[in-house]
């Protein structure tokens, strides 16, 4: 009896193990494989893949790997084994992006972006002859216009490696943005009314913002909420005001080590956080708050201001469809300098340089970034399209975000990048200012100390390198 049970068990084990040893997909191999991590866009992507197959006969397989950590692991592991798909996204800092380009995992798209110049026109013609792009619905003329022009200028910047870039990458455009994003100040119109403020006159200057915060506090309404437990959001807020107070050039000079963090202008930046904390404008627990909780607080009318990205439109719609709010650039401290906000490409797709279907992949991404597809993606996902010609039918709140795309910037597109350790001390220092643990002067001194230590270390390392060479 027991022998029989053992036999059944062993049979079952091997049958289950061996069953489906290979890929059991029976629908046939796709022409193009695309990897992404964007769960909330999966349905829209699948619909677009269906449309593309109907129009061109090319089967595109969108493969979703989430969460983003798992996705990143998969991309890195696949890069090491040379098994990256035809198209993929890269969730990484620019230096990792550069490493992928240098390893030959990413195609330079400059020629394609700048128009079909002679060297590539032949290939394009071949594709048309093959029927890959012959029956697209949009006007034939549009295909021959410059691809680059359809994008928000800022959307492309993150994918551009300029001449003389610090990573030594051959200058070029290496990614195709599919949407854009930016981070702004939002205010709740109903709470403004409740506190006796004019909901159509949001604060434009820092003084007005502080004054509005005082009025809201007097009415028992918490002022600003944001996910400052995720320190990159503090970095974003501080970076906006640093550029406004001292100008972009001085910020870059600080990163390059030419201006210390103890400079009076930097102290002004740190003091903004102290002022907000002292005035009681910040929502309770803001320094430990993750953005998801901050979004929940704002969506449920429990804070009048929020500092959040354009993705919030979709989030707030899900949490509270009746939320009455608007987006504004952060109120200015220095009226002489412009306010820059963080933003740029939301998600970008890259083409595997080693892909056998490189031209088909490029054609597909071109198709994906033209108006009908971008409008569809935007309507389905409430994200800002990367194609600036698709802004006609977007909701008013998204249009407010779109209006400020031209004033966006991002640390990754600045000509110098700060040490991660300095950024960490900078952001954590601001957290300690908010909770009253340290003064702005103490934080500035500490950040500068870390900066100098890192610069010294880099100098020594470079000297050692030179010596070894």
């Amino acid at each position: 009896m027991k022998v029989r049970i053992l036999s059944v068990f062993v049979f079952l084990f091997f049958a289950l193990t061996i069953f489906g040893c290979g890929n059991s997909d029976t629908k046939g191999k796709p022409d193009l494989v695309l990897w992404h991590w964007m769960t909330d866009r999966e349905e829209a992507f699948l619909e677009l893949a269906k449309r593309y197959e109907e129009e061109t006969g090319i089967k595109v397989s969108f493969e979703l790997y989430a969460p983003s950590d798992a996705y990143s692991q998969k991309v890195r592991a696949s890069a090491q084994t040379g098994t990256l798909p035809d198209i993929y996204g890269l969730l990484a800092e620019k230096r990792d992006y550069a490493a992928f380009i240098k390893a030959g995992h990413i195609t330079d798209l400059s020629d394609y972006m700048n128009g079909f110049i002679a060297t590539n026109k032949d290939d394009y013609a071949k594709l048309i002859k093959k029927g890959f792009i012959s029956d697209l619905t949009y006007d034939m003329e549009q295909k021959f216009k410059e691809w680059r022009r359809i994008f928000f200028k800022k959307a492309l910047e993150v994918n551009i490696f300029p001449e003389g870039n610090q990573w030594g990458v051959k200058p070029g455009i290496y990614g195709v943005p599919i949407d854009v994003t930016n981070i702004q100040m939002l205010y709740n119109k109903d709470l403004f009314k409740e506190a006796g403020l004019d909901p159509e006159k949001p604060p434009k200057t820092w003084e007005e913002f502080i004054e509005a915060g005082r009025t809201l506090k007097a009415a028992g309404i918490p002022g600003l909420v944001s996910g400052w437990g995720e320190i990159w959001m503090i970095d974003c807020f501080a970076s906006n005001y640093a550029m406004n107070i001292m100008g972009k050039d001085k910020v870059v000079a600080t990163i390059k080590g030419k201006v210390p963090y103890t400079d009076p202008d930097w102290l002004k930046v740190f003091h903004l956080f102290k002022e907000m904390a002292d005035e009681g404008i910040l929502a309770p627990g803001i320094v430990a708050m993750v953005n998801k909780s901050a979004e929940q607080t704002f969506a449920n009318n429990r804070a009048a201001f929020s500092f959040n990205g354009s993705w919030c439109v979709n989030v707030y719609r899900g949490m509270n469809p009746d939320l009455n709010y608007a987006a504004i650039p952060p109120p200015l401290v220095n009226k002489k300098n412009p306010m820059y906000i963080w933003g740029g490409a939301g998600a970008s797709f890259l083409i595997n340089e080693k892909s056998k279907a490189k031209e088909e992949a490029i054609s597909f991404l071109k198709w994906l970034t033209y108006e009908p597809q971008q409008a569809f993606l935007s309507s389905k996902t409430n994200n800002l399209p990367a194609n600036q010609k698709c802004l006609v039918d977007i909701p008013p709140i998204l249009a407010q975000f779109a209006d400020d795309m031209e004033i966006t910037t991002h640390p990754s597109i600045l000509p110098a990048s700060e040490y991660s350790q300095v950024i960490e001390f900078f952001n954590k220092g601001i957290q300690s200012i908010i909770i009253g643990e340290k003064t702005p002067e103490e934080v500035a001194a500490k950040v500068q100390e870390v900066k100098e230590r890192r610069m010294e270390w880099t100098k020594k390392r470079e000297a050692r390198k030179k010596q070894n060479n």
């Binding site: 027991k2 053992l6 068990f9 062993v10 079952l12 084990f13 289950l16 193990t17 061996i18 069953f19 489906g20 040893c21 290979g22 890929n23 059991s24 997909d25 991590w37 964007m38 769960t39 909330d40 866009r41 999966e42 493969e63 979703l64 790997y65 989430a66 969460p67 983003s68 798992a70 996705y71 692991q73 998969k74 890195r76 592991a77 696949s78 090491q80 084994t81 098994t83 929940q296 969506a299 449920n300 990205g309 993705w311 919030c312 979709n314 989030v315 899900g318 949490m319 509270n320 469809p321």
Partner: protein
């Protein structure tokens, strides 16, 4: 005096039960919250914090099942769980028996090497594992997903079973030999039936690990048709927005089989764990 003794005893019992109740509440409340949330809508989940839902949306379960493609993923998870648990029990019990009852050169070194693998979590070796599986052409195959998980479960299983097998009286083994049992006969007819509590622990631990596994599946598998149940849950989680009611309904569906398995095996588990822990 007696009254004071009884009073002290009762007081201790009340305090003990209060502590146990609060610990139990911390375990059960998240499950109740999960179930309650699975019956709400996307906007009431953020505004209505009551555990009891006045207007339950049972259709969330149907939607979670269909949108998450749970039918196919469920079957896959059953295949993976049965295969891995079977593989671990079969391989580990043979190895543990050998470590406990046989003498061969390098026995202790090999045993400690097995134990060392317990210190390395699978995610720590993801890239190396992927490269290896790619070379073996096992990426995007069921076997490629099952084998690393069997390997991951072996160390603890061998450790638990070895301590059980070592406790077997030598006389029992001698009697079995007199009755004509070979080494495999002793293992199968004597050692395995006596190790049922330990096997129950191994089954539950590994079944839970495999049932809830997701990261390795993301790394190794590409075809949707091969993905386990946890893949279905990811459909409801976006980068910025999560469809909580459907996610909670999906998680409720996903935890049912493992809770049932735990309840079935419960009585063996305490014996198994304590035996392994004390004697190890």
């Amino acid at each position: 005096m007696i009254n004071r003794f009884i009073l002290e005893k009762r007081l201790k019992s009340v305090v003990m039960h209060l502590i146990l109740l609060s610990v139990a509440a911390t375990c059960i409340l998240p499950l109740i919250w999960m179930f309650s949330s699975s019956l709400k809508t996307q906007d009431t989940i953020f505004s209505n914090m009551h555990i009891i839902v006045s207007d339950p949306h049972w259709e969330n379960y149907r939607e979670a099942w269909t949108k998450g493609n749970f039918g196919a993923y469920f079957l896959n998870s059953v295949i993976y769980t049965v295969s891995v648990v079977g593989g671990v029990v079969f391989t580990a019990s043979l190895a543990a028996f050998a470590f406990a009852r046989l003498n061969f050169p390098g026995k202790n070194i090999m045993f400690y090497m097995f134990l060392i693998t317990m210190m390395i979590p699978i995610p720590g070796s993801f890239i190396a594992l992927y490269v290896l599986l790619q070379k073996l052409r096992l990426v995007n195959t069921r076997l490629g997903y099952i084998l690393p998980q069997i390997n991951a479960g072996l160390a603890l299983a061998i450790y638990i079973l070895k301590t059980f097998f070592e406790e077997l009286p030598k006389d029992l083994e001698d009697s079995a030999r007199i009755d004509g049992c070979g080494k495999f006969g002793v293992y199968w007819h004597i050692a395995m039936p006596l190790a049922k509590p330990a096997i129950a622990v191994i089954v539950v631990f590994n079944a839970m690990a495999v049932w809830n596994e997701y990261l390795l599946a993301m790394l190794i598998l590409s075809s949707k048709s091969l993905m386990p149940l946890q893949r279905g849950l990811m459909v409801f989680q976006g980068a910025h927005i999560t469809r909580y009611p459907l996610l909670m309904a999906g998680i409720t569906i996903a935890v049912v089989p493992i809770v049932v398995l735990y309840l079935i095996m419960q009585r063996h588990i305490i014996t198994g764990i304590t035996a392994g822990a004390v004697k190890g």
